[in-house]
Subunit: 285 residues, 2 copies
């Protein structure tokens, strides 16, 4: 239900995803407007696009910028670390919205997110998901590079999926590393990159090495994920960390995980000798 | 059902726990004999006690030492990293036992452990749990030091327990860190100390600090834990890492987690301003 010709507003958190989305949307012929967040967004990243900046508490200013840029739809992309509400610089609309936001924040991250989306929608802006505006970013089924998982890897993928889904159901994280039936690491607030980095520092008796790869990283979508924001993301950098951790490869939920640059990711996988496998959960359980 | 006067054999893995058990058993008037594992046990730690060494594949030699030392009961204590079976130096009894052990290892860590215990029991040695021979090491209910959890901490303990139990049911780990409802970290193969160290490196917006502590580490027992080995352990070092991570304190399952040196741990907690709280799971859920 996108409206071509109307500008897409992108609220830009940290990381490469917002720019990948901006490029993908432009590739589909849409105008984009990027709204950077002070202290969060890297100014250099959004400079090549029409853009503006607001503070995290300046809700009124954000709405004003988005309207001036003729945005009818907006999307949230990239990470924002947990906000310290007591330190927010609020404008009038921000101050009005704060009690509702705080009440939601107490109920958990998912409730906070829903309250934020509702705030924008009450202002007449439709919130759409990254996947809706940049469908090409969704992980496809099957191999992304040349390599495929072997039988041992398939078993690890199956177990890793069970673990990652259990984590997701408890709202903990979306990724796990399994090596020959042993769970080497589970992602929580530290994020996927830090999780992979620590696998590389585990004793070699527990894990594979670049000379003798074994084990997989599985990344999936939470069962009740708010799909308008917060889809899990992988990129070429993820492949590099998977390779450095001695793993055989990386399994991602097809249609549920966003791939920032598919071509670059496939090249990295082939160069480093690891697989990138898009799986459908129903065919794994 | 311990037999005073008969020697207790302790198979010594890495860490402080085996020595704490040896001291506690001696304190209860038992003779002890420590069997070190080459490449695993620190020789200096077991020197003060009657002891011997064997390789990991020298099952025959192990049995011989334990019999000569008049051991009727044995206990396993301390960690042994996953063994590379292909590199084991085997004696005759070790070679005979290996196929059964390998078959069990394929089924998972718990099956491997049960097969190991059965091997020793077939030789007439009764395997007992750390908690049976050193009951004083089990965490008590309530505060170990002077501080107690506040209302926010109680909520984090409750959620952390749910998370840790879910992890345990999947045989992943036994500890989790929760801060105001957000899961900061979950333990897998890296162990509790490494998990706490990474919490200290998370952004300060997500966690507490030594100036303004918040969040808890919860450590529990797996639902189907083989209680003759492998009970989770905490020590004064754990309290130091909890404090460095900016957490309010540490909650451990009373009667299920082993405390290596209660006095030292309580002193560390009071000195650093964190709580150590022994909880009963039934009163938390």
């Amino acid at each position: 239900m996108t409206m071509p010709g109307k500008t897409l507003g992108i609220i830009v958190g940290a990381g490469d995803l917002p720019i990948a989305i901006a490029r993908a949307a432009k590739g589909e012929g849409r105008d984009v407007f990027l709204l950077g967040l002070e202290g969060v967004t890297d100014p250099k990243m959004i400079e090549p696009f029409p853009h503006a900046f607001t503070g995290l508490g300046e809700f009124g200013k954000a709405i004003k910028h988005l309207r001036e840029a003729q945005c009818s739809e907006i999307t949230f992309a990239g990470k924002v670390a947990r906000v310290e509400f007591s330190k927010l610089k609020l404008d009038a609309k921000g101050a009005l919205a704060l009690p509702r936001i705080l009440a939601a924040a107490i109920k958990g991250d998912d409730a906070l997110l829903r309250a934020l989306l509702a705030m924008f929608e009450r202002e007449g802006l439709k919130v759409v998901g990254s996947a809706e505006v940049a469908r090409d970013l969704l992980a496809p089924s099957g191999a992304l590079g040349k390599l495929k998982p072997g039988a041992d890897d398939e078993a690890d993928i199956k177990y890793g999926l069970r673990v990652a889904q259990a984590m997701g159901a408890l709202d903990i994280g979306q990724a796990a590393v399994v090596c020959r039936g042993l769970v080497l690491a589970v992602e929580a607030a530290e994020g996927t990159d830090a999780m992979l980095t620590r696998v590389a520092s585990l004793p070699e008796t527990l894990r594979g090495t670049p000379m003798q790869r074994k084990g997989v990283m599985v990344k999936t979508v939470k069962p009740h994920q708010e799909r308008r924001v917060d889809l899990p993301v992988v990129a070429a950098r993820t492949v590099e960390l998977v390779a450095a951790a001695g793993l055989s490869g990386l399994a991602i939920q097809a249609g549920g995980v966003l791939v920032v640059d598919r071509q670059k990711m496939a090249e990295a996988a082939d160069r480093l000798g690891v697989f990138v496998h898009g799986f459908r959960p129903e065919s794994q359980s």
